[in-house]
Symmetry: C2
Subunit: 733 residues, 2 copies
Amino acid sequence: MDQLLFWLVPAASVLALCFAWYFHRQMMKESEGTPQMVKIAAAVRKGAMSYLRQQYKIVGWVFLGLVILFSIMAYGFGVQNSWVPIAFLTGGFFSGLSGFLGMKTATYASARTANAARNSLNAGLRIAFRSGAVMGLVVVGLGLLDISFWYLLLNAVIPVDVMTPTHKLCIITTTMLTFGMGASTQALFARVGGGIYTKAADVGADLVGKVEAGIPEDDPRNPATIADNVGDNVGDVAGMGADLYESYCGSILATAALGAAAFIHSGDTLMQFKAVIAPMLIAAVGIILSIIGIFSVRTKENAGMKDLLNSLAFGTNLSSVLIVVATFLILWLLKLDNWVWISCSVVVGLVVGIVIGRSTEYYTSQSYRPTRKLSESGKTGPATVIISGIGLGMLSTAIPVIAVVVGIIASYLFASGFDFANVGLGLYGIGIAAVGMLSTLGITLATDAYGPIADNAGGNAEMSGLGEEVRKRTDALDSLGNTTAATGKGFAIGSAALTGLALLASYIEEIRIGLTRLGTTDIFVGGEAVSVQDATFFDFMHHYDVTLMNPKVLSGMFLGSMMAFLFCGLTMNAVGRAAAHMVDEVRRQFREIKGILTGEAEPDYERCVAISTKGAQREMVVPSLIAIIAPILTGLVFGVPGVLGLLIGGLSSGFVLAIFMANAGGAWDNAKKYVEEGNFGGKGSEVHKATVVGDTVGDPFKDTSGPSLNILIKLMSMVAIVMAGLTVAWSLF
Amino acid sequence: MDQLLFWLVPAASVLALCFAWYFHRQMMKESEGTPQMVKIAAAVRKGAMSYLRQQYKIVGWVFLGLVILFSIMAYGFGVQNSWVPIAFLTGGFFSGLSGFLGMKTATYASARTANAARNSLNAGLRIAFRSGAVMGLVVVGLGLLDISFWYLLLNAVIPVDVMTPTHKLCIITTTMLTFGMGASTQALFARVGGGIYTKAADVGADLVGKVEAGIPEDDPRNPATIADNVGDNVGDVAGMGADLYESYCGSILATAALGAAAFIHSGDTLMQFKAVIAPMLIAAVGIILSIIGIFSVRTKENAGMKDLLNSLAFGTNLSSVLIVVATFLILWLLKLDNWVWISCSVVVGLVVGIVIGRSTEYYTSQSYRPTRKLSESGKTGPATVIISGIGLGMLSTAIPVIAVVVGIIASYLFASGFDFANVGLGLYGIGIAAVGMLSTLGITLATDAYGPIADNAGGNAEMSGLGEEVRKRTDALDSLGNTTAATGKGFAIGSAALTGLALLASYIEEIRIGLTRLGTTDIFVGGEAVSVQDATFFDFMHHYDVTLMNPKVLSGMFLGSMMAFLFCGLTMNAVGRAAAHMVDEVRRQFREIKGILTGEAEPDYERCVAISTKGAQREMVVPSLIAIIAPILTGLVFGVPGVLGLLIGGLSSGFVLAIFMANAGGAWDNAKKYVEEGNFGGKGSEVHKATVVGDTVGDPFKDTSGPSLNILIKLMSMVAIVMAGLTVAWSLF
C-alpha cells in the first residue's frame, strides 16, 4: 500500500508536465498580432535566449570545476559518496531547464497577451495566467521528477549490507541533497545574473529615458528598452524559475532527510520510509490541487478588475484549503505515526506563509497607509523618500519574523508530540511546514510568473503603438499580479527560513556519515563514548560544543551575518556599475544618433542588450563563488561549530535582510505608482520625481539582492552538507 | 601591594576630573568674540540646555518606573540583589552627567574657537581640542569614580559568610553590572533622542535651506540653523558622551565580572581579586597616558593643516604605544597568572581597533577610491548615489568583521593558554581586549568630541558674518577631526562587539546567582547532577541546552536579528517624521515672514528649536522601551536559551548593521564634500545635488540609527543580566 502510494509522486510530476505542455500549446495557437508586434517579440526572445546561452556557458564552467572537485573527493579520497558528482549535475540541469522553459513560454506569450488585451482584459488575463502556469507546472513537475528518479535509483543501487536498514534511507536522502546543491548553485547564478541584467537595463533605461529625456516607460525611442524587456524575462522569469525549483526541491529533500534521521535509532524501517515519502506525497497532491486551482480561474467575458482579482484569489485560496484537507487525508492513509499533529505542522506552515504574504501586502501595497505615507514623503524630496522607505522596510521585518518564530515553535511542538527533547521529529515538523507552504507552488508560481509576462506585453504594446487602452489593460494585469504575487513571495521567503533550519539537521546527519566513512566509531559526550551510529543531535552538539559560548560558534555567526551584507553589497554595486555603463551608452546614442528622439532614426537596441549581457556575466561570478567558498573555508578553519555558526548567522541575518530589502523595494515601486495614479501632484510633479528615485533604488533591492539572499542562505547550507566529509576528514587529519 | 595598586584607580579618576576642570577653566578665560557671537552662542546654549532638561525629565520617569520594578523584585520577591535599584540609578546619573558636562563645555567653547580661529588655525585647534579633552576626561574620570565607589562599597557591605569567598567577588562584580545597565539606559535615550533632534534639524535645514532656497549651510536666514547647531551639541556631544561612558564602564565591568567568574572554582581569592582589578588598572593607567597624550598635542604658531594632523595623530599614537608597554608592566607588577599572554590579548584589542579605524577611514574618506567613486556615481543622479552608497556600506562590513573574528579567537586563545576548553579565561581575554581598545578613551574621545565643537564654531562664524577665512579654518578643523575620529569610532564599534560577548558570560553568572538565591542547588548535565556553585559555563550551556539545534535558541536568534532592524526602522522613521515637521515650519516661515531671505527680518529660531525638542522627545520613547522590554519578554517566553539566542542574534546582526550604516553615512557625507572641493562640477552642479541627497540620507544612518545600535546591543545584554533572576524564578515557577 505504502509502496503503491509512492508512485503517486512520479505520476503527479508527469501530470504536471503534461498540463504544462497543454497550456503551452494552447498559448502558441493564439495570434502574435501585427508584424511590428511579432518583430519586437522576436527581438526580445533573441536577446533573452542569447543571454541565457552565455549564462549557461559560465555556469557550465563553474559546474565543471565543482564536479571535478567532487570527483576527486569521492573517487580519490573517499570522503564523499560516489553518486554526489552526478546528482549535483542533474540538480543544476533541471533547475536551469525550469528557468529556460518558463522563459521560452514567457517570450512567446507576451505579444500574444498584448494582442489579446486589444479585445478585452479577460482575454489578456487568460493567456498571461495560463502561460505563467506553464512555468509553475514545469517547476513542480521537473522537481518531483528529479526527486522520484534519484530516490528510485539510489534505492536500487545502494547496498543494504554496509549498514543497518535505517541507515540506508539516511544515506539515500542525504545524497539526494547533493542535487539540491546543484539546483541552488544554478539558481544563485540565475538570480544574481538575471537580477543584475534586468536592473542594469531597467535603471539605465529609467535614468536617461524617464528622468533626463522625459520619455515614457517602454518608449521605442529609448535604446535600452529592448534590453529592459529582455531583462524582465531573464531576471523575473528565468531567474525566478530556477530559484523556486531550488526552494521546492530543497524543502522536500531536507524534510525527507529529517524523516530518515528521526527514525534512525528506532529500527522501524517502515515508519522511516513513511516519514521520508510524506513530504513527497504532500507535494504530489499539491500538484493535482494546483491544476484544479488553475482551471478554476475563469471569468465571464468583459469581467472588471475586481472580478479578475476575485477569480485569481479564488484559485489560490481553493488550492490552499484543499491542501489542508488533503494533507490530513494522505497522512492518515499513510498511517504515519502522530499523523494528526504532523498534519497540523503542515497547516502551521501554510498559515505562516499567508501571514507573511498579508504583511508584505500591507507594507507594500498602495492600498494601505505605509506606502501612501511613503508617497507623501516625496513632498520633501528624494532624500526623505529614501529615509522613509528604508524605515518602512526595516519595520516590516517584525511581523514576518514573529510569524516564523511562532511557526518554528508550533510546528516543532506539534510534530515532536509536545516534547522539546524530541529534536528529530521536532525538526521534521519544521521541515514539513516548509513543504506545506510550497506544496501548491504550481498555482502560486503561476500568479507570480504572469506578472512579468503582462509587463512585457505592456512593453510590446507601447513599442508597437497599440494605444492607451491596451497599455492600460496590461498595466492593470501587471498590478493585479503584484497583489496576488504577495502571497507567493511570502511562501518563498518563509519556506527559505524553515528549510534553512531543516538543512542544519541534515548537516549533522552528513557529519555522522562522514565520520562513519572515515572509520570513526565513537564520539565523546561529557567524557563518555557514544557510538557515532547511535548518537543523537544533542550528542553531536555536545561533542563538537556547538553552544553559544564557543568562540568558534560566535565567530562563525559574525561571519554569517557579514556574508549576508557582503553578498548584498556586491550585488548592489554590480547593478550600480552595470547601470552606469548602460546610462553612458544610452546618452551616447541620444547624442550621436541624430533623430532618435523625434522618432526618425532607430536606436541601436542590440548594443544595450550586449552591455547588459556582458555586465551581468562579469558581475555574477564573484558573489556566487563567495557563497560557495565561505562555508568550505569556515569548515577548514573553524570546523563543525564554525560552520553551524556561519549557517545560523547567515540564516537569521539574511532572512531579516531579505525581507527588509524586498519590502522596501516593493513599497518604493508602489509609492511611485500611487503618485502616478494622480496623487500628490501625479506624473511629472516634483513628488513624482522624488518617488522615481525611490523606485530606482528599490529595483536592485527587490529584484537582485533581496531574492538572491534566499538562495544564498540555502546554498551555503547545501555546500556545507556536501562538504561535510571534507570538514570531518580535515579536522581528524 | 595589590590592595595598594587598586588605589591607583580612584586616584586616576580624580586626576582625570582635575585636568578636565583645568582645561575647562583655561577655555573659559578666552574671549567669546563680538557681541553677535556671544548672542548666538547663548542662543545655542539655551536651546541645548532646555532640550537636555526635557530629555532628563522623560528619562527620569523611565528610571522611576524601572527602579520601582527593581525594588519590587529585590525587596518584594527577593529575586534580585538589594543594591540593584541604587546602583542602577548612579549609572544613569553619571552617564547623564558626562553628557551634560561635555555639552556645557562644548557650548561655551564654540564661539571661543571661532574667535581664536580669527587669529590662526592653530589657536582654534588648541581651544577646540582642549575642550574636547574636557569631555574625554570627564567620561573616563566619572566612569572610574563610579566603578571604584561601588567596588569599595559592595566589598564593605556584602557579608562573606553567605558563600565562599570566591563567590563574594562574583556577586560584587555582577551587581556592579547593574549600574552599567543604568548607564546604558541613559545612553540609549541620549543617543536616540539627541540623534533624532540633530538629524531632524539638520535634514530640515538642508532640505529647505540648501536645496530649495539655495542658501548656504548655517546661513542666519535659515530658521532651522540655531536648531541645527543645538542638535550638534545634544546629539554629537551629549549623546556621544553618554554613549562612551556606557561603553567604557561596560567593558571594564564585564571584564571584571569575567575575571571573578574565571577563578570561582579555584578558591584562589587573591588571583581572582587580581583578575578583577586588572581591567580597572589598565583603564587607570590609560587615563594618565591620555593626559600625557593630550599635552603632547602642541604645534608651532602658524602651523599648516599637515602639521596639525601630525600633531593630533602623534598624541593618539603616543598613548596607544605607551599603553601597550604599560599593560605589560602593570600586569607584571600585579603578578597576574599568565600575564604575558593576557597582555597580548590587550594588544590584540588595540590592533583590532586600529584595523577597524583604518578600514573606516579607507571606506569613508574622500582621499580613497571608494568615496571618490561614490561621488562619481552622482553623474547619473541621486538614485545611483544611494545604490552605490548602500553597496559601499555593505561591502565595508567585511574587514571589521574579519578583524573582530580574528580578535575574538586570538584574545581567547592567548588568555586561555591556547586551550579552547578554558572558557572562563578565554572569555576574560575577549573582555580585556575590549578594555584595551577603550583604555585611552580620554584622548581618543577628545579627538572625536572636538569635531562638533569646530562644526559649531563654523556655524557661529557664519552667522556672525566673520568672513570666508574663518569659516575655512573651522571647516579645516572639522574635517581634520573627521579623520582622527575614525580610529576612535573604530574603537567604539569594535569594543561594543567584544563587550557584548563578554556580557553573555556575565549573564550566565547572574543565572548562577539567581538559582542560588532561589535555593536551587543542582543543575543536570546529561542526567547527572552538578552543583550550581561548581557548574562551568559548559555545564550551564548543556543544562539549558543552549545549542544551535534548540528551537528556542533559534527563535531567539531570529528575534535578535529582527530587533536590530526594527530598532533602526523606528529611529529612521522618527527622523523622517520630525524632519518633515521641520521642513513644514521652515517653509511656513519663508512664506509668512516677509524679508527673511533678504536679511531684513529675523526668522523665528525658537519655533524650530521647539519642534526638534518635541519631536525628539516624542519619538525616542518607543524604540528605547522596546530595547528594554524585548529581553524581558523573551526571557519569560523562551527562558535562558531564548535570551542567549536573542542577545547573540542581536549582537551579530546589530554589529554588522551598525558598521554598514555608519560607513555608508560617512561615505555619503564625504562624497558630498569631495564634490564641494570642486570635483565633478563642484558646488551647485547636478552631481553636487545628487550627493546632497546621499548626505541627507546618510545623516540618520551615521548619527542616529548606526551609533544607537552599539548601545542597543549592550543594553539588551544588561537588561537580560539584571532580569536574570526573574527569568530563573519564572521558569522554576
